[in-house]
Amino acid sequence: MNGERTALYDFTKGIIKENPVLVTLLGMCPTLAVTVLAVNGIGMGLATTFVLVCSNLVISVLKNVIPKAVRLPCFIVIIAGFVTFIDFMLKGYLPGLHSALGVFLQLITVNCIILGRAEAFASRNNVGRSLLDGLGMGIGFTLALFTMGSVREILGLGSWMGLKIPYLCDNPMTIFIMPAGGFFVLGCLIALVNKIAKRKPPKEISCENCPNAAGCSGQCKA
């Protein structure tokens, strides 16, 4: 672990060890909102991965050009550009998914994961590493959303990826596809990860994980 981080580590850390949703607790809004169906989770995850990889790439290329004082608005504009692009691609080629994700597709712009990685990784590392980091984080995000979506779809609708499950589909627990079920499933998943990792649970969302820390410099806890 000590010494130089390998490129492989940069790629894999986002998938399990620093999974953006389940471990560092970023990007909760889309995680809760779109995971009514497993397939929505995959769609949202892949769209976010695309934006994450592209924005990491561009920000890492431009890191010496962007003045430090206005870096956050610059990052946001770059991210918003890619979000607009993916918004139109989905609207054109996958209109069903586009309407299922709704406004949350445009809200990828303010997803904390993307701004967080831009600030914490892409603006400090070279292009190759940033690309791997974005890809790893994106896959981790997609996996977490897919798991959430699967649990909620199986329990709440009695189907999985659109396939009906015998017995369960006769008595679905509708509460799981309602907002309350989203909070509940995410809470249980995070607890499960804590249990497996035997991790000392973080007391609260700490400043190092907070994408806004650059703005408030830790004063928000005061």
Binding site: M28, P73, V110, C220
Partner: protein, 189 residues
């Protein structure tokens, strides 16, 4: 009457945090104490109304030039700039208000509820006044959720949970229960 319906719908029936899942990061981050919840809520109401007042005419302008595809980029730029501007002006001119809201202002740029409201106004084809009402309602809803939840959180803090559930998981499950209570309002509309 439409305005009352929009207002009630925003605050209770489609609560922005508890049933639309916007602004969860801020909701989990600052709902620890009543004081910080109130500060954040006030700052969000203020920014939402002002952001709506700016982005609505801006969208009409984009519509005029047939450049509505730029709306996400334009809106987030306006919000980011506006937040910075307000912070600078308040620091100079309104020091008391700055002290009350100041810390929470920069956090709002990445609060998805603000961008969500401005985009929602356009998607729902609201008029200018309806948009402002929607912004006010959503801000109030956010504040209500934060205030209610800070009370719940201060209670669960000292309870004896299984080790794995301590911290955020317990908070999320408490949020699920608060969200269930808001489902009761669904019959109102």
């Amino acid at each position: 009457m439409t305005y009352v319906l929009i207002l009630v719908g925003c605050v209770f029936v489609n609560n922005v945090v508890l049933s639309q899942f916007m602004g969860i990061c801020a909701f989990l981050g600052v709902s620890k104490q009543l004081k910080s919840s109130a500060g954040m809520g006030a700052a969000v109401i203020f920014v939402m109304i002002c952001a709506t007042a700016i982005t609505y005419p801006l969208y009409k302008l984009l519509e005029h030039f047939e450049m509505t595809y730029l709306k996400t980029i334009a809106f987030i730029l306006v919000i980011a700039m506006f937040v910075q501007l307000v912070e600078i002006i308040m620091k100079k001119k309104m020091h008391a208000l700055y002290k009350a809201l100041g810390v929470y202002l920069p956090l709002i740029t990445t609060n998805c509820a603000v961008l969500g409201v401005t985009l929602g106004n356009i998607n729902n084809d609201y008029t200018f006044l309806q948009s402002l009402t929607n912004a006010l309602g959503t801000g109030l809803a956010f504040t209500l959720a934060l205030l209610l939840f800070s009370g719940v959180r201060s209670r669960i803090e000292d309870n004896d949970f299984p080790q794995a559930f301590k911290g955020v998981p317990a908070t999320l499950i408490a949020a699920a229960i608060v969200s269930v209570s808001f489902m009761g309002f669904a019959g109102m509309m």
